[in-house]
């Protein structure tokens, strides 16, 4: 069974045509991989389907805009993977 990071890295590679080996847990989806908000909708859709969750993109965006969070917390891939694991755990609780 692949890790959460592997799953989202594969999704990003396929969705955005980015070489898989250039995607690391430290990669920032926006700043390092150049993924824009529209492409991220495709990624979110694939993640939602793969994990059976609903990424709270609007809440995250609001928190960043309000200065309550940084984009690193949600868009560095190891952090994104951790957020997804939390959402999956919450769903099963």
């Amino acid at each position: 069974m692949s890790s959460t990071f592997d799953t989202i890295a594969n999704i990003i590679a396929e969705t955005c045509d980015i070489p898989r080996d250039s995607i690391t847990p430290e990669s920032h989806a926006i700043n390092d991989l150049g993924i824009d908000s529209l492409d991220f909708l495709d990624i979110a859709f694939a993640i939602d389907k793969a994990f059976g969750i609903k990424l709270p993109l609007e809440q995250w965006t609001q928190e960043v805009n309000d200065g309550k969070a940084t984009t690193d917390q949600y868009f560095v891939l190891k952090n994104l993977a951790a957020r997804i694991d939390e959402l999956v755990a919450a769903k099963g609780a």
């Binding site: 909708l41 859709f45 609903k54 990424l55 709270p56 993109l57």
Partner: protein, 157 residues
């Protein structure tokens, strides 16, 4: 269908919020300035307007599912296929089904048929945002009445 005004839906014939589906029926006008250029002597409904018709049908579904609390905007169109020419006077039956209700976006599968014959289909992505202002929200409510969108209780007053 008022092509020049991008008002492409004539009426909503079915809306099923539990199944997350909608149907609209729309008649291509017999005359329009659009047909004067597309094409002289051979009028065809432009494919982009067929996409817009599927997007607007999808949009009304999303508006209704959000109880007029949010507004959809076209963000992406995928796998659009145009299978048959559409000419003035044709009646277009449009169906859309919500494929995914995401956070701030929605994805639908939509298709158009005419007399049971497939016309076109596509997967539509809509951004779903708060109404930019009360004027647009009221405009959408007025349009909903015109189109026969079944009554939906508003989310906010």
């Amino acid at each position: 269908m008022r092509l020049e005004y991008f008002q492409l839906i004539d009426r909503v014939t079915d809306l099923n919020l539990s199944d997350r589906t909608i149907r609209t029926e729309n008649t291509v006008p017999s005359a329009s300035t659009v047909f004067e250029g597309h094409f002289p002597g051979y009028p065809l409904m432009p494919g982009v307007l067929l996409v817009e018709t599927m997007a607007q049908t999808s949009g009304w579904l999303v508006v209704a599912l959000n109880k007029f609390g949010r507004m959809p905007f076209l963000a992406a169109v995928k796998d659009a296929k145009f299978r048959t020419f559409v000419v003035p006077g044709m009646v277009l039956a449009v169906e859309a089904r919500l494929e995914h209700d995401g956070s701030g976006y929605a994805i639908t599968n939509a298709k158009i048929t005419s007399a049971g014959k497939p016309i076109c289909d596509a997967t539509i992505t809509l951004r779903v945002m708060p109404f930019p202002n009360d004027e647009i929200r009221q405009h959408m409510r007025d349009q909903a009445v015109r189109l026969g969108v079944p009554s939906v209780e508003p989310a906010h007053g």
